[in-house]
């Protein structure tokens, strides 16, 4: 349950990042239906939080880290977070409910598409990774591992 809650908050954090730090991503444009991803996320949140027993657990440090990211680092941090979600978070969560499974699949595949686009940007040197961006990503990884 705690793992689910963590995943949910991290996912929410990513969406906040995407919607707020768009300036940093301007040099690397992604055509994505964010509205659909947000909708899927809200459905998952409703279904999982209804069953959540640890309601007073929050990962405040993660959200602070994300809010302090500069627009210049947004592309790199987003790319790293997407890879983190696709490679680790979604795999760790085993879902049996077909309805939620569909929504998670939708988000996971959308993240995969965004990740591929950002990788292309990085190859064209339009998504530069500074030390600050790498540090921020590492903090998120460490929090998750805990």
């Amino acid at each position: 349950m705690k793992l689910q809650y963590v995943s949910l908050w991290l996912l929410g954090a990513v969406l906040v990042l995407c919607s707020v730090h768009t300036r940093g991503l301007r040099r690397c444009l992604i055509s994505v239906d964010m509205h659909h991803i947000e909708e899927s996320f809200q459905e998952i949140k409703r279904a999982i939080q209804a069953k959540d027993t640890f309601q007073n657990v929050t990962i405040l440090s993660t959200s602070e880290t994300l809010q302090s990211i500069k627009p210049l680092d947004a592309c790199c941090v987003t790319k790293n977070l997407l890879a983190f979600y696709v490679d680790r978070v979604f795999k760790d969560h085993q879902e049996l409910n077909p309805q939620i499974l569909r929504k998670i699949s939708s988000i996971a595949n959308s993240f995969l598409y965004m990740q591929k686009t950002l990788r292309r940007c990085q190859e064209q040197r339009r998504c530069h990774c500074r030390q600050e961006a790498t540090n921020a990503t590492r903090i998120v990884h460490d929090n998750y591992d805990q």
């Binding site: 055509s31 509205h35 659909h36 795999k91 569909r102 939708s106 595949n109 959308s110 995969l112 598409y113």
Partner: protein, 312 residues
């Protein structure tokens, strides 16, 4: 003993062979009929509506049901054993399935179908080439142009929330500048431009799908014309002339009607010229006397003559 062992071996081998020979027909025909898997899977996608189709499994007198499952690129890379049942097609009848609600990301998707008849289920038949929704066919949008006075109003076809429209319009004259307007959704009438009288305007539109970053071709240009001020002027002139004619004709006809009425109810008797008395009364009197004598003689003679002729 060796011969005995060899004979036993031979018998055993023969038995095994016979057993397999007997089994082969059973394997081929089966005690229970095997349901074949659907064939020829294909996806037809137009304007972000994706339809999976296949050749139906024909079982005379029976209704075969089909189940569809899908797997995005994420699942095929990280959890390849997981297939997700389609939102609308678990045990569906038709040899087709609308997978629009399942294909929600711009990545290759694997799709598979199997047939079910009662307790029998066929094997899975998988799409040969994974389907990516960025290969959808985008058609130019339908549009309706209407004039509201001098306002040009456009209504574009409603293609769903994933579609945006780009509308281009220009005045139909050499060297005219093309204006462009972005419309976020179809199905709603929208004011495009206030037209100048006497000018013709042409409009064309294309769709844009943000999720796949692709545009359709432009639709055929449609043109509308606005009447200039010249025509109303001619109409005004005609109206004035007509009014003047009426102004003259109405009193004339009233006067004529009046005359007719007077004639029909109270006609004036006029003496004809021949009866008019032009000479003095004395002359008339003397003239008359002579005439009377002549007339009287003639009158007497004639009556006697007549009498005589009658007696004869």
């Amino acid at each position: 003993t060796q011969t005995f062992t060899m004979v036993l071996k031979e018998i055993w081998t023969s038995l095994i062979m016979w057993f397999f020979y007997a089994l082969i027909p059973c394997l081929l025909t089966g005690g229970v009929a095997i349901l074949p898997a659907p064939q020829n899977l294909s996806v037809h996608s137009t304007n972000m509506k994706h339809l999976l189709m296949w050749s139906p499994v024909i079982m005379p007198g029976e209704t075969v049901y089909y189940s569809v499952e899908y797997q995005g690129e994420y699942e095929s890379l990280y959890t390849s054993h997981i297939w997700i049942p389609s939102s609308w097609c678990s045990l569906t009848e038709g040899p087709k399935c609308d997978v629009t609600d399942d294909i929600t990301a711009t990545v290759p998707y694997n799709l598979r179908v199997r047939a079910t008849l009662g307790s029998q289920t066929s094997g899975w038949s998988t799409l040969t080439h994974p389907f990516n929704r960025n290969s959808t066919i985008l058609t130019p949008p339908g549009m309706e142009l209407t004039k509201d006075g001098f306002h040009l109003v456009i209504e574009l076809e409603d293609l769903g929330p994933q579609f945006e429209f780009l509308v281009a319009y220009w005045r139909r004259e050499p060297g005219a500048k093309e204006h462009v307007k972005t419309v976020s959704s179809g199905g709603i009438p929208l004011h495009l431009v206030t037209m100048e009288p006497g000018a013709a305007y042409c409009v064309k539109a294309q769709t844009f799908v943000k999720a796949i970053g692709r545009r359709s071709a432009f639709s055929q240009a449609e043109c509308v014309e606005v009447e200039g001020e010249v025509l109303p002027l001619a109409l005004a002139l005609f109206a004035f002339v007509g009014f003047m004619l009426i102004l003259v004709a109405v009193p004339l006809s009233i006067w004529k009607m009046g005359q007719l009425l007077r004639y029909s109810c109270c006609p004036v008797v006029v003496l004809p010229d021949t009866l008019k008395v032009t000479n003095s009364p004395q002359k008339l009197m003397s003239c008359r006397k002579e005439e009377v004598d002549a007339c009287a003689m003639t009158a007497v003679l004639s009556s006697e003559g007549l009498f005589r002729t009658w007696i004869r």
